[in-house]
C-alpha cells in the first residue's frame, strides 16, 4: 500500500518535472546552450576544460553503446575495440596520408562500423551472455592486433604526434578552445542522430527486440538485421569518438583501450539510465568528474565503477534518470492535424 503510494508520488513528480520542461523548453534549451557555449569564457583552467572535453567524449561513447545495450538489449563488453579502431584508423590516416580530421574521422568510424557488422553477423543468433563474451573476445583481439602488428601500429609504443584537427585554416587546440567546440558539435550531432533513429520504426524495432525478441520476430521484424544495424550504428559512433579522442590527446597506445574502458562505458550507460539519452550526459558527467573531484579516490576509481554496476542493478536498475515518460505519447504533427479535423467534423455533424 505504502509502496504504491510512493510509486504514485514519484510518478506525479516526474509528470510535474516533465510538464515543466515541456512548457519552458525553449528558455531551458537556450540557457543550457548559452552555458555550454560560454564555458570557455568563465575562467576555468585548461585542466578543467580538458575534463569537460572528456565528459563530452564519454557522453558520445555512452550514446553509442546505449543504442546497442540500452535500446536493443545487447550487452557489449568490447566497445574499447571499436574505440581503438576509430582512434588508430583516423590517426594513421592523418599521420601517414595527411588526411584532414573530417576525412580521417569518417574513415575511422566507417572501419569501426564494418568491424561492428563483422562481429555481429556470426554472433546474432547467440543468447545474451554469449554475445557479450564474443564482444569481449573481439575487444581483446583488437588489442592483440594493435600490439603485434607493429609495422603499422607501432606496437606497444603506440602512435605519437597525432595532428590536431584544423578547420577553415584554423588549427583547433585546447588553448584556443577549438577542441572544446568541436566536441560540442560532435555531441550535438550524435545526440541528434540517436534521437532521430529512436523516434522511428527503427527505434521501435530496437526496443521491441530488447523487450521480447520472439514477439518481435512474430511481428515480422527481421531481428537479425536490426541487431546488426544496432551494432553498426553503435560502432560508428564509437569509432568517430575514437578519432576525436586520438586527435585531442595526441598519443595513443594499445593500453589506452583496455577492458576497463569498456566497463567504464557500460557503467555510464547503466548509471545514467539504459535506453535514455538524457542519462548518458549525467552518467558521464558524474563518473568522469568524480575521480577528479575526489582525488583521494583516484586509485579506487575502477573499484567505484564496479560498485556502480553492482549497486545500480540492485537498487535502481533503470538508472538515475531512467524514468518512463508520464507525458502523453507525442503524436506526429500530421496525425494531430487530422485528428483535430475529425473532431471538428464530428462536432459539425453533431450540431447538424
Amino acid at each position: 500500500m505504502d509502496k504504491n503510494l510512493e510509486k504514485g508520488k514519484s510518478k506525479n513528480f516526474i509528470l510535474i518535472l516533465e510538464s515543466f520542461i515541456e512548457k519552458y523548453k525553449v528558455p531551458i534549451a537556450g540557457v543550457s546552450a548559452l552555458i555550454l557555449l560560454g564555458l570557455p569564457f568563465m575562467g576555468f583552467s585548461q585542466y578543467i576544460m580538458r575534463i569537460f572535453i572528456m565528459i563530452g567524449i564519454y557522453s558520445m561513447l555512452a550514446l553509442g553503446l546505449n543504442i546497442l545495450t540500452g535500446y536493443t538489449g545487447l550487452v557489449s563488453l568490447g566497445h574499447a575495440g571499436f574505440y581503438a579502431i576509430g582512434a588508430y584508423t583516423a590517426s594513421l590516416l592523418s599521420l601517414k596520408l595527411g588526411a584532414n580530421f573530417l576525412v580521417a574521422a569518417i574513415g575511422g568510424a566507417v572501419l569501426a562500423a564494418i568491424c561492428g557488422l563483422l562481429v555481429s553477423l556470426p554472433t546474432l543468433r547467440l543468447k545474451g551472455t554469449y554475445l557479450s563474451i564474443v564482444t569481449l573476445g573481439f575487444g581483446e583481439i583488437v588489442k592483440m592486433i594493435l600490439i603485434n602488428w607493429d609495422k603499422v601500429t607501432n606496437g606497444t609504443l603506440g602512435l605519437k604526434n597525432i595532428p590536431r584537427p584544423s578547420m577553415f585554416g584554423l588549427k583547433l587546440t585546447l588553448v584556443n578552445n577549438g577542441m572544446y567546440y568541436l566536441m560540442l558539435v560532435l555531441v550535438a550531432l550524435i545526440t541528434l542522430l540517436c534521437t532521430l533513429l529512436i523516434k522511428s520504426k527503427i527505434g521501435r524495432a530496437f526496443m521491441s527486440i530488447k523487450e521480447d525478441e520472439l514477439a518481435a520476430i512474430m511481428m515480422g521484424i527481421k531481428t537479425t538485421r536490426y541487431k546488426a544495424l544496432a551494432f553498426v550504428i553503435s560502432a560508428f559512433i564509437t569509432g568517430i569518438t575514437g578519432a576525436f579522442y586520438a586527435s585531442m590527446i595526441g598519443f595513443i597506445e594499445p593500453n589506452s583501450f583496455t577492458f576497463d574502458i569498456s566497463t567504464l562505458i557500460i557503467s555510464i550507460v547503466i548509471f545514467g539510465g539504459m535506453g535514455t539519452i538524457r542519462g548518458m550526459f549525467l552518467g558521464s558527467a558524474i563518473l568522469i568528474a568524480f575521480p577528479e573531484v575526489f582525488r583521494f579516490l583516484m586509485d579506487y576509481r575502477f573499484v567505484v565503477y564496479g560498485l556502480v554496476l553492482v549497486l545500480m542493478m540492485r537498487f535502481r536498475p533503470q538508472g538515475m534518470l531512467g524514468w518512463k515518460s508520464q507525458m502523453p505519447y507525442k503524436l506526429p504533427k500530421l496525425v494531430k492535424e487530422s485528428l483535430k479535423k475529425n473532431n471538428k467534423d464530428n462536432l459539425k455533424t453533431q450540431q447538424i
Binding site: 557500460i266 553492482v310 540492485r314
Partner: protein, 303 residues
C-alpha cells in the same frame, strides 16, 4: 642422420607439448567447472570467476609470505576463495533473484564484481608480477625420451582427482542430488523442501574452491602472480566450458584439455604471442558452429 635426429626432436617436442597442454588443460577444466556449475543452476555466466581465481593465487601468496607453510596457505586460500564465491552470491546475486530482475542485471553485476575484486587486488598487492613458489617441483620425470616436469604431473593428477571428487559429490551425495534437482527446476525443488539458497551457496563455494586449487596449481607452474591474471585464464576456462557444453561437467574436462593442448601447440609452432588467441578462436568457432558445445543439450523454444 641429422634428418632422423630432427624428426626425433620434432616428435619429442610434439609429445612434450602434449603433456604441457594436458596438464594446463586439466587446470583449465577445474576453473571451467566453476562456470559450468553456476550456469547449470542459475543460467548465469559468472563473469567474476576469473577474478576469483586471481584472488585465490594472491591469498595463497600472502599466507606463504606470512610463513604459514605451503599446505596451510593452500588450504586457507581454498576456504577463503570458496567463501568469496558465496559472498558474491549472497551480497549481489541473491537480492537480484529475490527481485526477479532481468538476466542482464545478473550479468552486469558479475562484471561489476569482477572489476571490484581485480582492482582491489591491484590496490593491495600492486599491479606488478610477483614470483610465486614452485610448490610441486620435484625435478623432472622421464618417460622414454620425453622429460616431464613433476609440476605438470602433479597438476594433472590433482586436477583429475578433484574432478572425480566433484563428480562424486554431484552424483552420489545428498547435496549433489539437491543441486541436480535445483538445476532441473528450482521452484519444484524448493517446494520439495530443498533449501535452494543453500544449494546455490554450496555451488558457489565449490566453484570458488576449485578455482582456488587451479589458481595454486597454475601459479606454481608459471611461478608468477598478478592481479590481472584471472582475465585471460578465466576466458580460456570459459571457452573450455562452452566447448564442452556449459552445464555439463565432463564436457568441461574435454573442453579444458582441448583448449590446453591447442594453446601449447600454438605457442610452440606459431609463436608465443598467439598463445592467448587460440582460446578466442575456439570459443568463437564453437559459438558459431554449435553454440550448445560438444555435449550440451539443445533447449526447445517455448512459446
Amino acid at each position: 642422420m641429422s634428418g632422423i635426429l630432427t624428426r626425433n626432436c620434432v616428435a619429442t617436442v610434439i609429445i612434450q607439448q602434449l603433456f604441457n597442454g594436458l596438464a594446463l588443460g586439466m587446470a583449465y577444466a577445474l576453473i571451467a567447472v566453476g562456470y559450468s556449475l553456476v550456469f547449470g543452476i542459475l543460467r548465469l555466466i559468472n563473469f567474476s570467476h576469473g577474478a576469483v581465481y586471481a584472488f585465490s593465487a594472491h591469498i595463497a601468496l600472502l599466507f606463504v609470505g606470512l610463513n604459514f607453510g605451503i599446505i596451510p596457505a593452500i588450504i586457507l586460500s581454498i576456504v577463503l576463495t570458496g567463501i568469496l564465491g558465496v559472498l558474491i552470491d549472497k551480497t549481489a546475486l541473491e537480492p537480484l533473484r529475490m527481485n526477479n530482475s532481468i538476466p542482464m542485471a545478473s550479468l552486469i553485476t558479475t562484471i561489476g564484481m569482477s572489476n571490484i575484486i581485480q582492482n582491489l587486488l591491484m590496490i593491495f598487492f600492486n599491479t606488478e608480477r610477483k614470483s610465486f613458489p614452485a610448490f610441486f617441483d620435484f625435478g623432472m620425470i622421464k618417460f622414454g625420451s620425453v622429460q616431464v616436469n613433476s609440476t605438470q604431473v602433479v597438476m594433472f593428477v590433482v586436477s583429475l582427482i578433484l574432478l572425480v571428487f566433484l563428480t562424486l559429490i554431484i552424483n552420489k551425495t545428498k547435496l549433489g542430488l539437491a543441486m541436480r534437482a535445483t538445476e532441473q527446476n528450482s521452484k519444484a525443488a524448493s517446494l520439495m523442501g530443498i533449501n535452494t539458497n543453500f544449494v546455490i551457496s554450496a555451488t558457489f563455494f565449490l566453484g570458488g574452491a576449485s578455482a582456488a586449487i587451479a589458481g595454486v596449481l597454475i601459479s606454481g607452474y608459471y611461478q608468477i602472480v598478478y592481479p590481472g591474471m584471472g582475465f585471460m585464464v578465466g576466458l580460456k576456462a570459459f571457452a573450455a566450458a562452452v566447448l564442452g557444453g556449459i552445464g555439463v561437467l565432463y564436457g568441461s574436462v574435454v573442453g579444458g584439455l582441448v583448449v590446453g593442448v591447442s594453446e601449447s601447440y600454438a605457442a610452440t609452432f606459431m609463436g608465443s604471442s598467439y598463445r592467448d588467441s587460440v582460446a578466442f578462436i575456439i570459443l568463437i568457432l564453437v559459438l558459431i558452429i554449435r553454440p550448445t558445445g560438444l555435449f550440451g543439450k539443445k533447449d526447445i523454444k517455448k512459446v
